[in-house]
């Protein structure tokens, strides 16, 4: 067990956990931030995507001890009132079916748009290729990313 001071969604949060604990489980089990999802545990499905220093990462595969003072943003902190351009576009285009993978999809999309405000179809596909969706919402995700780029 060790103590860590994490900067999450603009707040300082202290946790006392095994240093090997992946960020995903720190968020979900210790900080009750349930928006970040468990899907595979091996960085293959993207359901656990969060921003670390503004970059999209798989929180299931980053031990809490590797984070240091880098700021973390989760779906809960993507915007104050759920009005990030990606969130607005997702609602506008009725993207979700079951909705389980969507926080991860949106975190990947938000990071992409920050780095590339006007991505092509191919750039969207390659940036989000690590985010699985069994419901098959890929087309609306692509449309929503393009819509978000205009908001």
């Amino acid at each position: 067990m060790a103590s860590f001071q994490l900067q999450i969604n603009g707040e300082n949060r202290a946790v006392n956990v095994d240093p090997n604990t992946p960020l995903l489980w720190v968020l979900r089990d210790h900080l009750s931030l349930k928006g970040t999802k468990y899907g595979c545990g091996i960085a293959q499905c993207g359901a656990c995507t969060v921003h670390l220093n503004g970059t999209a990462v798989r929180s299931c595969s980053i031990p809490v001890s590797a984070i240091g003072n880098q700021p973390i943003t989760t779906i809960e902190g993507l915007s104050e009132n759920g009005d990030h351009s990606v969130q607005k576009a997702w609602v506008e285009l009725d993207v979700a079916q079951c909705g389980y993978c969507q926080p991860g999809q949106m975190m990947s999309a938000a990071a992409l748009l920050k780095a590339n405000p006007n991505p092509t179809d191919e750039q969207i596909a390659s940036s989000l290729n690590g985010n699985l969706c069994r419901c098959g919402t890929y087309l609306r995700i692509k449309q929503a990313v393009k819509k978000a780029a205009t908001l």
Binding site: M1, V17, D18, N20, T21, P22, W25, R28, D29, S32, L33, K34, G35, T36, K37, Y38, G39, C40, G41, I42, Q44, C45, T74, I75, E76, L78, G82, V86, Q87, W90, V91, D94, A96, Q97, C98, G99, Y100, C101, Q102, P103, M106, D121, E122, I124, A125, S126, L128, N129, N131, L132, C133, R134, C135, G136, T137, Y138, L139, R140, I141, K142
Partner: protein, 751 residues
């Protein structure tokens, strides 16, 4: 006006109103918290008035409608309340939707499966619930105004009496409407009178989903909750011998390690109580990560199981089943299926004289199709919460069949049904997997043992290796053409491990004079079950691929060829047990032909067509593909759907889009194989699922417009995708694909 008997609904409505006393309804805060922002924005009422178990009206006109069924992405949380709201004439902008608890006193068929939620809801009480409340409001207003209720009209939450100039919002009349008796029959709207149904409405949970609200089973928590995981045998055909948890028990955060038996062999099991690994080792601790680590530290010895007798309760009554012993391999599976296919099968249907017709045929075409086992891979891994006390069994989590789960838990724990309470959380997918209840029983047994609230969580590896899979299938088709290229005989022989995918009375049965359908199956200890459009998800692909090849051999356009057969089935059907309406079947083919511009394809595009009827709806797809560096790239899919009245065109199109993407992925990439009883894939690094870059560029969905009672969409658009892909690939490459998944070069069943 159409009229409907409302006796059943009346009983249920009265019961629920009596329970709630017509006043404030007590909600369960965890699920309702998801709505708080929207409720605040709309302005909370001072008081709620429950008019029946499906809805309550606030004194400010806000209406809460219950979503009675489990939600797993089919959007019933929006569409079922729309059906209720339609008959009530609500202002949809003033509606709050609440997920109902599992409650057989009020609701019927709280089940997600078989594409039945909308279809059964339409005829089983949802419209009556809205109509009954509207009746009560009208009666209340009539009394208040001293006018006849029949002269009062309703629109978007407002009651009006034109002659007297009176009008009032529903909120003003709600308190007076409570307790008004409803008549034996209620007037329901005609299709032409529908105003809410048929309009595009966004998912009522959209905002909660995009802000990451805790709404799924895996998000559920209660004070003092522990985390549990199970360790199951590494292979089908094996069982627990012994375990040593000395090290694991000393690890940080670990409470206990013990075994449970989900279903004892000597007790009859329910219909959805399929479970290969009934005896498992359980690790319980404080947090998920700690339990995951301790799980690895438990030393377990396994042994091969002998053949086992179990009693299952199917829809056709109880039966004795022998689960065979042995560690199975995919290579053997394929060889066994070939052997079975070569023997006479069980004849399911026979029309005319197929043997004679094949003998005199000018041309005989024979082709064999196969498909592997598949894992469901719902994105939310299996999980369930249980808090078992001396008085009650509290359960919460993602499940498709709560009525079956309640029974299974009550039986296993030896408590009466009324002592089992189930909260249905949103499901992160289900696709059939969450119809089974072993994990619900496991959670309850663990909580009882721990005397504490427990959430059981499967790792992805547990989920994929302890599956209730889509079976592996095999189908051989033969067709006989005469010298004029007329289809004179058709023979389908299909089987699988451990069930046959055959539907003997489906198209082209009824359209061919001489017809033979045979089934066979091979026993296995690998557990299988419902997977999005069971059986259809394979046989549609086989049949529609074969018909494409027969059309080509007959020198006919594949759509025209099918339409000719359907014309025969309509005008002069063979036999009287044909499970489809030829007109509606032809209707989707004609619509897809028009909308895809079938007769004038774009240059350089290869297209395939496929149509299928299952789960009460008709779907046809035209799929356009291009090859890029040896890999297929699906450009566009045009879909024509006949599901009767479309409740919510936005959500309906979403369902079709999703099923098309899912179908493309499973036809091209996905498979599960076995080596000595163990799956060779246990996570997404080895099990290939379709990804963004493999999805089509465009999916264009069209609905046949008619006034037929609505049917479902969760399953019907899925099965025909497999053949649309195969037929388009053939046009693109000249190669026919017979073995799913098509992009695995070596037939995967051969290992």
């Amino acid at each position: 006006m159409s009229r409907t008997e409302s006796k059943l609904s009346r009983r249920n409505f009265l019961k629920s109103s009596a329970l709630a006393g017509g006043g404030l309804m007590i909600s369960f805060s965890w699920l309702v918290s998801c709505n708080s922002k929207r409720e605040e924005a709309l302005g909370l009422p001072e008081e709620w008035f429950e008019l029946n178990g499906f809805l309550k009206i606030g004194d400010n006109g806000l209406v809460t409608i219950m979503a009675p069924n489990p939600e797993f992405g089919q959007n019933v949380t929006t569409s079922l309340p729309m059906i209720i709201g339609e008959e009530l004439d609500v202002d949809w902008n003033k509606v709050i939707v609440e997920q109902a608890k599992f409650n057989t006193d009020v609701f019927t068929r709280q089940f997600a499966g078989g594409s039945q939620s909308v279809r059964q809801g339409w005829v089983n009480g949802l419209r009556e619930a809205g109509a009954a409340a509207k009746y009560m409001l009208k009666e209340a207003a009539a009394k208040q105004w001293g006018v006849s209720a029949s002269d009062i009209t309703t629109k978007e939450g407002v009651l009006s009496h034109v002659a007297s100039g009176n009008s009032a919002g529903y909120g003003e009349m709600a308190s007076l409407a409570v307790g008004i008796e409803i008549p034996e029959t209620l007037e329901l709207k005609k299709p032409s009178e529908l105003t809410l149904v048929g309009t595009a409405r966004k998912n009522v949970r959209g905002k909660d989903i995009v802000t990451g609200k805790p709404m799924f089973g895996i998000d559920y928590e209660e004070e003092g909750m522990l985390i549990a995981m199970i360790i199951h045998p590494p292979a089908f055909g094996m069982r627990l011998k012994s375990f040593d948890a000395t090290t694991a028990k000393q690890m940080s955060g670990i409470k206990e390690v013990f075994t449970i038996t989900s279903f004892p062999n000597d007790e009859p099991r329910g219909y959805f109580s399929t479970d290969a690994f009934t005896e498992t080792v359980v690790v319980v601790g404080n947090t998920t990560w700690e339990v995951m680590q301790a799980k690895k530290a438990v030393r377990v010895e396994w042994e091969q199981s002998p053949a086992t007798q179990i009693t299952t309760a199917g829809f056709g009554g109880t039966q004795q089943v022998t689960v065979p012993a042995g560690l199975e391999n995919s290579t053997d599976h394929y060889r066994l299926m070939q052997q079975m296919a070569a023997r006479p099968g069980r004849i399911e249907r026979r029309d005319g004289n197929p043997e004679a017709a094949f003998k005199k045929a000018a041309k005989v075409i024979e082709r064999t199709y196969t498909a592997p086992f598949l894992a469901h891979n719902a994105m939310e891994p299996m999980n369930f919460f249980a808090r078992v006390t001396d008085d009650m069994v509290h359960l919460a989590g993602p499940l498709q069949a709560p009525e079956f789960a309640e029974q299974a838990v009550a039986n296993r724990l030896g408590v009466p049904l009324e002592k089992v309470d189930i909260k249905m959380t949103r499901m992160g997918g289900g696709f059939g997997r969450r119809a089974y209840d072993h994990y619900v029983v496991e959670a309850a047994l663990i909580s009882r043992h721990m005397k504490a609230p427990v959430k059981l969580v499967y790792t992805r590896e547990d989920d994929m290796t302890n599956g209730i899979y889509r079976p592996s299938y095999h189908a051989t088709y033969r067709a006989a053409l005469d010298e004029n290229n007329n289809l004179i005989a058709f023979h389908a022989k299909a089987g699988g491990i451990p069930e046959s995918p055959l539907h003997a009375n489906r198209f082209p049965a009824g359209a061919v004079e001489n017809y033979l359908a045979e089934s066979w199956q091979i026993d296995s200890n690998i557990t299988v079950g419902a997977f999005r459009a069971p059986r259809s998800n394979f046989i549609a692909g086989a049949e529609q691929s074969f018909l494409d090849e027969v059309a080509e051999a007959a020198g006919k356009d594949p759509i025209e060829f099918r339409l000719e057969l359907l014309k025969r089935a309509r005008e002069n059907p063979v036999g009287d047990r044909n499970d489809y309406e030829a007109d509606r079947y032809a209707g989707v083919l004609e619509l897809v032909r028009e909308k895809s511009n079938w007769d004038q394809p774009e240059e350089g595009v290869s297209r395939g067509v496929s149509a299928y009827f299952c789960h009460n709806s008709y779907v046809a797809h035209v799929l356009d593909v291009e090859m890029e560096g040896g890999e297929p790239r699906v450009k566009k899919v045009t879909c024509a759907v006949d599901c009767g009245i479309v409740i919510n065109p936005l959500a309906a199109a979403n369902m079709v889009e999703g099923a098309v993407v899912d179908g493309i992925g499973h036809s091209l990439y996905s498979y599960l194989t076995f080596n000595n009883g163990a799956t060779e894939q246990n996570n997404f690094n080895r099990y290939r699922m379709i990804r963004h870059s493999e999805a089509p560029e465009t999916i264009d969905v069209h609905f046949v417009k008619n006034d037929i009672a609505p049917t479902g969409l969760g399953e019907p658009p899925f099965p025909p995708v497999f053949a649309a892909v195969a037929n388009a690939l053939y046009k693109a490459t000249g190669k026919r694909h017979y073995n799913q998944p098509y992009m695995v070069q070596q037939q995967i069943s051969l290992g």
